[in-house]
């Protein structure tokens, strides 16, 4: 600790709300095209789906739309790569030269990316609602449990945060591949792995993936049920909330751990 007090003309560090808002505008400026592409693709898919269910009372449009959130999970896994584009740990001299604490700067950028991701998700769903309204099925949206919608949002947040931890900590361009592999192969691998380890880890290693606190339940339960054409009106927090909060905490902790990795610049 320094013996002397700071000099009188020492300036104040950037207030967090300013630093956060600037990270938000920066990511929006750098990633709006990708975000717009996601919203457009999601909307186009919803429009196609609307045409397929039009006049068919058997299928719930809203359930199917929640099934469409698989697209959101895909985007959420890739979005950290946009947020941290050209900002590998060795390319962060500018970010880390700002009068903001290093960990806070990283956390604010991750948070700003999450805010925009969920903002894009809300916009995409608003567009989908308008599409539903045009085919006379807007009422199905209100019939779906709010927890089903929340599950989609939290699921996307979990995937995004895990992807962010990879992007924050990883140096090589291979992180892109790693993140994509994570998304594409992790679910089946995580399904297989518990099976292969069942003998060694009894009882119940499958919880990692599809147990009460499983990753599958946390991120994709609503999607899976929608794909099975299960009406989501009865989707309750008990189905999903513990797993969602558990994995959200793990994902946030991973980001925290990743941000502690320090590279000399």
């Amino acid at each position: 600790m320094n013996d002397e007090a700071p000099e009188a003309d020492v300036r104040k560090a950037t207030p967090l709300w300013i630093a956060g808002s600037r990270q938000l505008t920066l990511i929006a400026a750098l990633g709006w095209q990708e975000l717009a592409a996601y919203v457009a693709f999601f909307s186009a898919a919803c429009a196609l789906m609307a045409s397929s269910v039009h006049g068919n009372p058997v299928h719930s449009y809203a359930d199917r739309q929640i099934g469409m959130h698989f697209l959101t999970l895909l985007f959420a896994a890739g979005w950290p790569l946009v947020v941290w584009r050209e900002q590998s740990p060795r390319q962060r001299a500018e970010l880390e030269s700002l009068p903001v604490g290093r960990g806070r700067a990283i956390g604010l950028r991750v948070g700003a990316g999450l805010f925009l991701l969920l903002g894009g998700w809300i916009v995409a769903n608003c567009v989908a609602f308008v599409i539903a309204a045009t085919i006379g099925r807007a009422g199905e949206f209100t019939a779906v449990s709010g927890f089903a919608w929340l599950a989609c949002a939290i699921g996307a947040a979990i995937v995004y945060l895990i992807g962010s931890a990879i992007a924050v900590a990883s140096e090589s361009p291979g992180r892109w591949v790693l993140a994509l592999l994570f998304l594409v192969y992790a679910p089946p691998l995580m399904m297989r792995l518990p099976e292969s380890l069942t003998f060694a880890l009894r009882p119940g290693p499958r919880w990692i993936y599809d147990g009460a606190l499983g990753f599958e339940r946390a991120t994709r339960l609503a999607v899976t049920e929608a794909q099975l054409d299960t009406r989501l009106a009865e989707f309750t927090p008990g189905h999903w909330l513990p797993a969602g909060l558990f994995w959200l905490a793990i994902a946030a902790a991973l980001v925290g751990l990743a941000s502690r990795r320090r590279v000399d610049l």
Partner: protein, 310 residues
Amino acid sequence: MMANRIPPFVVDRPAVATHDLTKRWGMQVVLDRAEMRVPRGAFYLLAGANGAGKSTLLRILMDLVRPNAGRADVLGIDPQRAAATARASIGYVPANPSLPPNRLALARKLEYLAAHYMAWDAAYATELLQALSVPLQRPARSSTPSEAQRFRWVAALAHRPPLLLLDEPFAGLDDASRDTALALLTDHLATIDTTVILATHDLGAAASLADHFGILREGRFEMQARLDTLLEHIHRYRVAIDGGWQPPSALGQATLTRTDGEREIEWIVWGPQAWAAEAFRAGGGTVTDVETLPAAEALRAVLRKKGSAG
């Protein structure tokens, strides 16, 4: 040799100080218990060859690099403990200041940086931008190294910081831009009570502004002093010689450079003038001219001679 020593300056309350600062990159020791003292309000020229550890030292002051041992003190703040507060008071021009290769226009980029500094002076920033001809509409990824360097100058000065860390700030600038940057720096120093640490191996541009210097060699401070004290101790001697001339052994270590002719020699010697003149006379020469060196040339002479510092 006592005659060759120059007195270190005494600093009661340095703007920047380092204590036993050590940094290793793998097996290579970049800084070896470096002890720097920069007085408040000084223009401190941090000189050294490429690889001497200058950039690493400045990055440690910014907390972009963590030392293996020792600590730094920046305006009374330990940057390892309160980096954000320290950085708020620092204007930093990094070496090789490439900009992140994204599509953000430099104007937007400057807005982004400006928002982080509570003391950002927008009117002053506009003056700096115009003076340095920064192309604001150009995307960062299309900017040239010179444009990036000029942009960094603006970003460093526009919040009128009490401490400037300039790491090879003229690299990549053409002569006109370098002169403009120097003029802006001079104006800045005239209006703000600023401490400057300028690290460079190119001493020509900034030596005229400096009042203190430090020579970093292989990670250690070989010398730190006031520049005027250095200039009092280094002179160029022109000495008429004849057949009886014997190079005086007393001047051996004190001779920084030598140009020998048949009838005249021209040596730059470190040490008191009377002592050197007497040594020349003892060798059979006649001192015909003694010249005080310009600051840049004096520093170059010291830099070239390893172990010249007392």
